[in-house]
């Protein structure tokens, strides 16, 4: 049986649930790589060149884990979503890097709306490669799409409710593949929750609302995921006490977009850059002092 491997990194945090619904509905067996751990990251660092960003290194580690455990590995290529919504160039290159680094068979599709390559076309291509009929694929795609829309709506409502909470509210701005990854940002969020902070995730807002809002902070920005992030800052600015920017070293988009946001917003912020050698103790000290500062400000 043809088994598909899904690396739990990078694209997974945008499309993972969607893929799972899609494959479930098509009856295609798949395996997920485990939650990131030190071993996977170390493997990734060994495979990657040393200047790649931590997230990409982690991604390669996940693929290395999957390489003998499945027949296909799902590696999409995402380039742009039209109307000045590009993605990071690492997303453009991921497929080719993996293709050259590993001998595995890859399942891939290309999202490039400027050239008319949509997610729908991509998934149809994948379904065909796995030997499914058009009808089946259509049903699976619709099913996954509806579920995805519901998920976005639900997340947005949860976030809105969080904004009304009485606790200290902190907006975490970062790419989901950094925020929810155990080796990158998860510890920070765990620490905040432990300290009784209401954590609001930037990516859980509906991108359709946040994306156009980013114009208020930055006119020329043309990176989709950075736009979503900055838009969420604008969207929730009045209701939050502080912002924490989390990025992996050296993230191309965050280096510019976050810097611009930090220069423009007028609420307390903390910028955390996570490297493969970052220790949590160092971060803890900075988080602690940030929380103290917020607490002091609240009591004034």
């Amino acid at each position: 049986m043809n088994r598909v491997g899904i690396p739990r990194s990078l694209f997974y945090y945008y499309y993972g649930n969607f893929w799972q619904d899609f494959f479930d509905s098509l009856n295609i067996p798949y395996i997920l790589s485990p939650i990131s751990n030190q071993e996977i990251v170390n493997k990734g660092i060994k495979i990657a060149s040393d200047e790649m960003c931590l997230s990409l290194k982690n991604y390669l580690g996940h693929i290395d884990y999957l390489k003998d455990k499945c027949d296909y590995i799902l590696v999409p290529r995402i380039s742009n979503f039209k109307n000045s919504n590009q993605t990071c160039t690492n997303f453009w290159a991921a497929y080719d890097i993996v293709k050259n680094k590993f001998q595995n068979k890859l399942l891939h599709y290309n999202i490039d709306l400027n050239k008319g390559k949509t997610l729908k076309k991509g998934l149809y291509k994948i379904g065909k490669e796995m030997g499914k009929t058009k009808h089946q694929i259509k049903r699976a795609y619709k099913y996954a799409l509806i579920k995805d829309k519901k998920r976005i709506k639900k997340n947005h409502i949860i976030n809105l409710n969080k904004l009304k909470s009485d606790k200290t509210k902190i907006l975490i701005v970062g790419h989901p593949y950094n925020l929810y990854d155990d080796m990158i940002g998860k510890d920070i969020i765990k620490y905040l929750i432990k300290n009784n902070i209401e954590v609001i995730y930037s990516d859980k807002f509906d991108p359709k609302i946040t994306n156009p809002l980013s114009k208020k902070l930055s006119k020329d920005l043309y990176f989709k995921y950075s736009k979503d992030n900055l838009g969420s800052v604008v969207y929730s600015m009045k209701n939050i006490n502080g912002v924490i920017f989390i990025s992996s070293f050296p993230c191309a988009l965050d280096s510019l977009a976050n810097e611009l946001a930090m220069r423009k917003i007028k609420i307390p912020y903390l910028n955390l850059v996570i490297d493969d050698s970052t220790s949590f103790t160092g971060l803890e000290t900075r988080l602690e002092s940030f929380l103290d500062m917020l607490g002091g400000k609240l009591n004034d």
Partner: protein
């Protein structure tokens, strides 16, 4: 009065100054000072931590231009995050207390003439479109001629008999080019200098070393940012092949991309942003032709090139060609680069004599 300035790259400040001074005859064009270590220090001090080096270079030059009195800055770029430089740089300069207007001619790598036209009109309402088109045409030709002559120089400068003859003549040429006022004039000057260059005596041995330079476009084209790599190679009597120049970026890249993709389709399927996929194809070209070594240079944190590096490495491995990577930062030491370059050169020499 408006004083216009722009960050410089290599010798291209001459056509740019020519164009601007003719479109805006009443305004002053400020020539950016040559990049020095002070420029980089200024840029690094005010830049975000892990932005790529061209940002630091251009920001440093901008600050120096503003200190000289400029109030309008022109920036262009696209393809990767270069297109987004302008907005952040404007914000940084504003925070530093400078009062200036930063105009970004190209965003996202797509240059629409309509937009450029509108932006130029902002600088000076008296700006005339027809004049701009005429001088734009001459400028494009000037860039083309400069690139052609540079190509010739690169092939021969390592073998000149009288030291410095190429460089002196090139300096003369640049001065002549900057005083040109019509296309006829330019064409004549170009032909004249081409003949002069061809007359310079060179001694080219048959077993000379040939090296191809590929890499990130700014670092390749601005000699200060690659620590005068080409000059260093010329000292060792090496023939240099370089692909990237402004003419290539403006006019050839769009239609050459398809060719490149077809040529090296086993290595990449999709564009990787900026020049990364071009470099993969070039690497294959250099491997298949009789070049002795490949030098890949980039500024640190250049994301598209980082993506291309493992693939370039793989190509060099399959063809068994020596390949060296240089990543230039504002804090790179020149001695370190020289040592690595010398070792690389020695290795090539030994391979050649084997």
């Amino acid at each position: 009065m408006t004083k216009i300035a722009f960050p410089q790259m290599g010798d291209y400040y001459i056509p740019a100054t020519f164009l601007l001074s003719h479109i805006f005859p009443n305004d002053e064009i400020i020539k950016a000072p040559k990049i020095t270590s002070k420029t980089i220090e200024l840029g690094t001090e005010n830049s975000p931590e892990f932005v790529c080096t061209p940002f630091k270079y251009t920001l440093g030059t901008m600050i120096e231009c503003l200190d000289k009195g400029a109030n309008i800055l022109i920036q262009m770029g696209g393809g990767c995050r270069y297109g987004y430089y302008a907005e952040l740089q404007a914000e940084i300069l504003k925070d530093l207390g400078y009062n200036c207007q930063l105009i970004n001619l190209v965003t996202e790598g797509s240059a629409s003439l309509k937009r450029i036209n509108k932006l130029l009109k902002q600088i000076n309402p008296k700006y005339s479109k027809i004049k701009a088109m005429y001088y734009g045409f001459i400028t494009i030709k000037m860039v083309k001629y400069m690139d052609e002559i540079d190509d010739y120089i690169r092939k021969n400068i390592g073998f000149e008999i009288e030291k410095g003859s190429f460089e002196n003549l090139k300096e003369q040429m640049l001065i002549t080019f900057s005083h040109i006022n019509s296309y006829r004039n330019l064409y004549k000057a170009y032909k004249r200098y081409l003949k002069k260059f061809q007359k310079i005596k060179v001694h080219k041995p048959d077993n000379r070393l040939k090296i191809g330079i590929i890499g990130e476009l700014y670092t390749v084209m601005e000699p200060f940012s690659n620590y005068f790599l080409e000059k260093e190679l010329a000292k060792h009597h090496i023939e240099i092949k370089r692909f990237t120049n402004v003419h290539y970026l403006l006019f050839e890249k769009a239609h050459k991309y398809k060719k490149y993709q077809k040529y090296s389709k086993e290595y990449f399927t999709y564009s990787m942003g900026a020049d990364a996929s071009d470099n993969i194809a070039r690497c294959k070209y250099l491997c298949e032709n009789d070049y002795d070594g490949i030098i890949h240079i980039k500024s640190s944190f250049c994301t598209p090139e980082i993506g291309a590096m493992p693939i370039i490495n793989k190509i060099a491995n399959t063809y068994q060609k020596p390949l060296i990577f240089f990543s230039f930062d504002s804090a790179t030491s020149e001695t370190g680069i020289q040592t690595r370059l010398e070792a690389f050169y020695d290795m090539l020499e030994m391979r050649k004599n084997k």
